[in-house]
Symmetry: C2
Subunit: 384 residues, 2 copies
């Protein structure tokens, strides 16, 4: 009775990991959680307070489908600070990046249209394409190229049915960024094909070193996907945004009116304060804390003999080669959890490309927990 697309949706392994971790915790074990793609910090106090004030002020009714204008203006101002001019009309507030992906899929893909994505990559991307009858075409990306495609990869993968490409920078599960020159070349190639280029920047702000702050500084033709979840720490509020070229505004508006009515009103009013100085200071402190954790986990894993072929410059993940343990990544994850109470996510969740070699470690937990995980890993490696 149910639709065929469901057969293509594999359950997430991480859900089994979470369920098993819950069982172990119920049995009295202290589990270290390195599997969760969500900051451990709760939303910054000024944003929470703004949400509480919004509720007290009765901000509980529908807004415009594309979001309240002051929030679109704040985001535009944020881009201006990064040196990029984006008019507020091009910024559409969405129900999380998930809502943005629904809108962009509905906007850009006809049934049968192919969209290029990366393997490994964010697993839900395929499902959003399939939702509208699109055909996701995974491109293998390897450690050699920082787990990001070159324009030659795009060219090789492009067929007559290809309509566009969806890349993430920084990416999940690898934490790596698309190099700016590659971004530029890919944007040029895609434009020549009359295709679209969606750039997922939901980890924007959670970056290290001398990197571009938004792909819009390199190409204004991009469709940008963004979120208040990660850098702004607003996961459960379900709020994000997309940036679209001018000619798409009217279509996206109609889609948003029909498919969402509007994004969460209290969340929108709370997010107005996400760009305030006191909030931004908290976000920046947290970003630096992620840096320190990354450093600790990275060095600790290397010292234990793990290979991390690319040192990431963003997000809060390490994509770690566990093959020296002699276990597949799925076995590694199962045994590490069952025997040493450390939860991590197997490569299987992110694609088919070398997925039995890699494990995603998310450093979305305290430094003390990271140290505990490293101790337990040392014990595990000694015992196995």
């Amino acid at each position: 009775m149910f639709a065929q697309r469901l057969d293509k949706i594999a359950p997430f392994r991480v859900m089994e990991v979470l369920a098993r971790a819950g069982e172990l915790e119920a049995a009295g074990h202290e589990v270290v959680h390195l599997e969760v793609g969500e900051p451990d910090f709760s939303t910054a106090a000024p944003i929470v307070e703004a949400g509480r004030v919004a509720l007290a002020d009765g901000k509980t009714k529908y807004t415009a489908a594309t979001g309240i204008i002051p929030l679109r203006e704040k985001i535009a101002a944020h881009y201006a600070e990064l040196g990029v001019e984006v008019c507020p009309e091009r910024i559409i507030i969405t129900s999380g990046a998930s809502g943005g992906l629904t809108l962009l899929s509905a906007l850009l893909l006809n049934p049968g249209d192919e969209i290029l994505i990366t393997d490994p990559g964010y697993p839900c991307n395929e499902v959003f394409a399939q939702l509208v009858g699109g055909v996701p075409r995974p491109m293998i990306v390897t450690a050699n190229n920082g787990f990001q495609p070159k324009v030659t990869d795009i060219r090789d993968a492009w067929t007559a049915r290809t309509k566009g490409v969806l890349l993430a920078s920084p990416a999940n599960p690898t934490g790596t960024m698309l190099h700016s020159s590659d971004l530029q070349e890919i944007a040029g190639y895609v434009a020549n094909q009359d295709g679209f280029f969606v750039l997922d920047e939901i980890y924007q702000g959670l970056v290290r070193g001398e990197v571009y702050r938004t792909g819009l500084s390199i190409s204004q033709e991009l469709f940008i996907l963004n979120s208040f979840s990660k850098y702004f720490g607003m996961t459960g509020w379900r709020l994000g945004w997309i940036v679209v070229p001018e000619q798409a505004i009217e279509y996206v508006t109609r889609l948003a009116q029909n498919l969402f009515i509007c994004p969460s009103t209290p969340a929108q009013y709370a997010a107005l304060s996400a760009f305030d100085l006191d909030s931004m200071q908290i976000h920046e402190e947290r970003a630096r804390e992620f840096d320190a954790r990354c450093e600790r986990l990275y060095e600790g894993l290397l010292a234990l003999g793990f290979q991390i072929p690319v040192r990431p410059n963003g997000a809060f993940y390490l994509y770690v080669d566990v093959s020296h343990t002699g276990l597949t990544s799925t076995e590694f994850c199962q045994r590490l959890l069952d025997e040493y109470f450390v939860a991590v996510t197997p490569g299987e969740d992110f694609g088919a490309n070398e997925n039995d070699r890699y494990v995603r470690f998310a450093y979305t937990t305290s430094m003390a927990s990271i140290d505990l995980a490293l101790d337990r890993l040392a014990q595990a490696l000694q015992a196995w």
Copy 2:
């Protein structure tokens, strides 16, 4: 560059009405708003307070994709009070009824599958079907049958490509309910065809007279769509739920994980108090206030010579025949707004069936505003 489905999405006339009303207000006119499908009441104070407490308690992170268990249990208990047993696992919390429609479309429709809907009906239903490549087939429903289909209508419209039917009770824009015996017959017919039957009950609770409280009391095979927006007054929070048969739970869960991650966390915790006695008293008072307004508007419009062929027993709409004015519904709406500053929604927004005859009046405004609208209508009819 954009997908073909966009050509099928007409802009809502009501958006033009809203924009024009805004202009008139900016020019100093007092506009009476009878066009809005949203309660004028803001969220009941106990729910708002629960939301504020949830925020202060840090309820800002992701929840399970299907929602927090206590809320699913509260909804199950609510059904139990209505005499219907629904296990909490069958209740999936969604991002508004909109999120529920996305999940049900993705669950039930393959590309090319037909789904029967009513004309007039909620205009977005078509878009949700088209999103996944489904083909909405409007069935004409008329005043003779209370703007609801009979099983014979379903049988006549059913083809080899028909997969199921989506009906609403109470319905938008007519406010009428599907008769319980018709519901039963239709459910039986659809089950014989191995089809699905989605029943939209988002106006549940906003009903009058001796009517069934949920279609689940008549058939447990239904897919139920519901929302915290209308009766519970939580529009801007974007929270709803669906009830699915047991064999659908796993599939819906996977879809929800991929397409939504989770519904709004603060909204879920706030909604926990929506079923409390103090909240329910407020909801019931408001439902009775809607009854009184319905009565006033209904009698007032009849006294002015309008035809309202079916007196509705739910929602907060009257579907009014304006043909005695000699104007089409669209002309009527334009002139009423421009000349008398009363905003209503033309039939065009709800389908093609006799749409130039009918206008939707939403009594989502105060009794004083309704009286003012009636005065202005009397003047208009005299002048035209």
